[in-house]
């Protein structure tokens, strides 16, 4: 089912948009129109559709019309011509009340410039969408609290936006959109202000959410890696036009034109999906803090037959299996003596391709280690699922 359908959508900024439109339809170039009439073509006859539950990414250089396009979808900007169907309803032709209702129930949005309310606390910001729908205070605060925790801002509920860093503000914007629980999320460079670690965490969280709740996501990014990781399909924009839509594979393999191939050329294809993309946070045991018994308990807790061991600075020590832990406990040896140390250590940039051959031989999960620190683990399952997700060409050796 099509969740969003955009047909022939055009936005021209300026005094006589209809005249500009005529020129566009006659095939005149954007630069020409700007030079002769002073009007800017924001979006030029764009058409695409997004399936329910799909993660649709829009990419393009700065000024290519991405933000304009996403604002046309919820009609923050009135289009010059064309239509936008949300669940089959044309938002361009909706009356005032219908539009408000659609925005409330169906369209959450995260803004490139955050757009937080400076006079409201984080909690009040996040609860805003529910508040204007008349949800009772207790209920809306509960839901807002939940999404604040989802984005890792627990403890900042009563801070004001200006007291937070850029990355934290961006997460408030994300939480605000999530709290509304709309089917569709419009995200304009929603992760651009985050540092790499949190960014990855948010990406994973978003994918998770989408899998769990079947959200339809329209996501804008500058970052090709991000697009390849997240997008079921990717649209590339240039000068307000959509020049290509396709899966990552299709775009990498058959770029529609030079612009697209330039865009994707610095992607070393074998590098596209890396260990850091599929690694998981492991349950770890801190060697210097507790002994074998605690390790056994932890394994029981997480339901694993082995556990990775680190010291208090997260330096990677080795793997402890349940058998070894028990024998260490019985003979009251320190667990350092029974660690398996010849674990495959890989760097976070290891391409998934290479992992595959390693994973076939390995008995245990692979440890992703950088500068001696344990960043994550890659199980054989996650390599396989990386394959199945099919975002990339990952060939078996």
């Amino acid at each position: 089912m099509k969740k969003i359908e955009v047909n022939n959508l055009t936005k021209i900024f300026g005094s006589h948009p209809q005249q500009g439109l005529k020129r566009l339809i006659d095939g005149e170039q954007k630069e020409n129109i700007l030079a002769e009439t002073g009007m800017t073509v924001g979006v030029n006859q764009a058409s695409f559709s997004v399936e329910a539950g799909e993660f649709f990414v829009i990419m393009g250089l700065s000024g290519s019309g991405k933000s304009t396009l996403i604002r046309l979808v919820n009609r923050l900007i009135e289009p010059t011509s064309g239509e936008v169907l949300i669940d089959g309803q044309n938002i361009v032709e909706m009356g005032k009340n219908e539009l408000i209702e659609t925005r409330r129930k169906k369209l959450g949005m995260v803004f490139q410039q955050f757009g937080l309310f400076p006079h409201r606390t984080v909690l009040q910001n996040v609860a805003y969408g529910l508040e204007i729908q008349g949800v009772k205070k207790e209920e809306r605060n509960k839901r807002a609290q939940q999404s604040i925790e989802d984005v890792g801002l627990h403890g900042y509920e009563n801070s004001y936006p200006k007291e937070l860093s850029g990355g934290m503000q961006q997460r408030v914007g994300l939480a605000r959109a999530l709290a509304n629980d709309s089917d569709i999320l419009l995200m304009d460079e929603a992760f651009s202000a985050l540092d790499p670690l949190i960014r990855k965490e948010m990406q994973d969280e978003l994918l998770n959410l989408q899998n769990k709740l079947g959200k339809t996501i329209l996501f804008i990014t500058h970052d090709l890696d991000e697009a390849l990781k997240l997008g079921d399909r990717i649209a590339i924009m240039k000068n307000g036009e959509i020049v290509q839509v396709g899966t990552a594979d299709e775009i990498l393999e058959n770029p529609a034109n030079e612009y697209v191939s330039n865009f994707v050329k610095d992607v070393d294809r074998s590098k596209v999906l890396m260990a850091s993309h599929v690694m998981k946070k492991p349950a770890v045991h801190m060697a210097d803090k507790s002994g074998a018994l605690a390790a056994v308990r932890k394994m029981e807790e997480v339901g694993a037959s082995s556990i990775f061991v680190v010291d208090k600075d997260n330096n990677f020590k080795g793997l402890l299996t349940i058998d070894n832990a028990i024998s260490a406990y019985k003979s009251s040896l320190p667990i350092e003596n029974v660690l398996i140390e010849d674990i495959h250590e890989i760097s976070p940039e290891t391409p998934l391709n290479d992992l595959f051959s390693v994973a076939v031989e390995a008995k245990y999960p692979l440890a992703v280690v950088e500068n001696g620190k344990l960043l994550g683990i890659v199980s054989r399952v996650s390599i396989l699922s990386g394959l199945v997700l099919g975002k990339k060409e990952v060939t078996t050796p």
Binding site: N74, R103, R104, M109, G115, H119, Y128, I132, R176, N180
Partner: protein, 278 residues
Amino acid sequence: MNYFTLPLEEWTNRFVDDWLLPVTGEFFDSISEGLRTFVDGVTDLMIATPPVLLVLILIIIAWKFSGKGLALFALLGSLYLGSVDLWEAAMQTVAIVIVSTLISIIIGIPLGILAATNKTMATLVRPILDFMQTLPSFVYLIPAILLFGLGNVPAVIATFVFATPPAVRMTTLGIQQVPADVVEASKAFGSTKWQLLYKVQLPLALPSIMAGINQTMMLALSMAVIASMIGAPGLGSVVLEGISTVNVGLGLTGGLGIVVLAIIMDRITQGLVRNNKK
């Protein structure tokens, strides 16, 4: 230079006498009646309240909105007004200022909101405000007398005309200064126009609106003083009497009283601005 004669004076008089007064007289009379009840009521209330009680309230307000310094100043200022026997005159002036500021706010803020959100309103309101602000106050004191007689009421009307523009302008400015991305976010979540206004635009415009109220009040005070020329009672008429009888001492005593009121009103309303910036 008189190549031809323009009988503007005569026309105006004829327009006023033959048309304006007969046709609209009743209307202005009823406004006049209502206003008189209002101003006189407030004036009587201020004068009838025991000064000690009023001063106490004033000190508390001064303390709350500004600080200890102003509270002390309010006490000393009140003692001064009492000691030169100008308490009643001061209360008459304060009553005119309060009433006309209230009217200015009640009309000015909604007008400012309309001008900020509606282009037609903006183009309509701006020239009127310019006109109100550039017109020398003497000039509209005359029609004020014509339409409303002498005393309190024309004073309030003239003061209202003189003091409303900043309330309108600063409201418009405050709303227009709300960042576009914040307004956009509010709309994207499905706010109605009203929700956008009272949950986002007004709270963010509040410091600017308060600054407007401060200016309005100060203008109202200066006009309430000038309006003594059309028979408004209060400190202004004390100064006027000092001038016309060449009694420098009386002029100075009344003048100082005005300064006292000005400082107290200014500091309290500036405190309002500060409180809303936090």
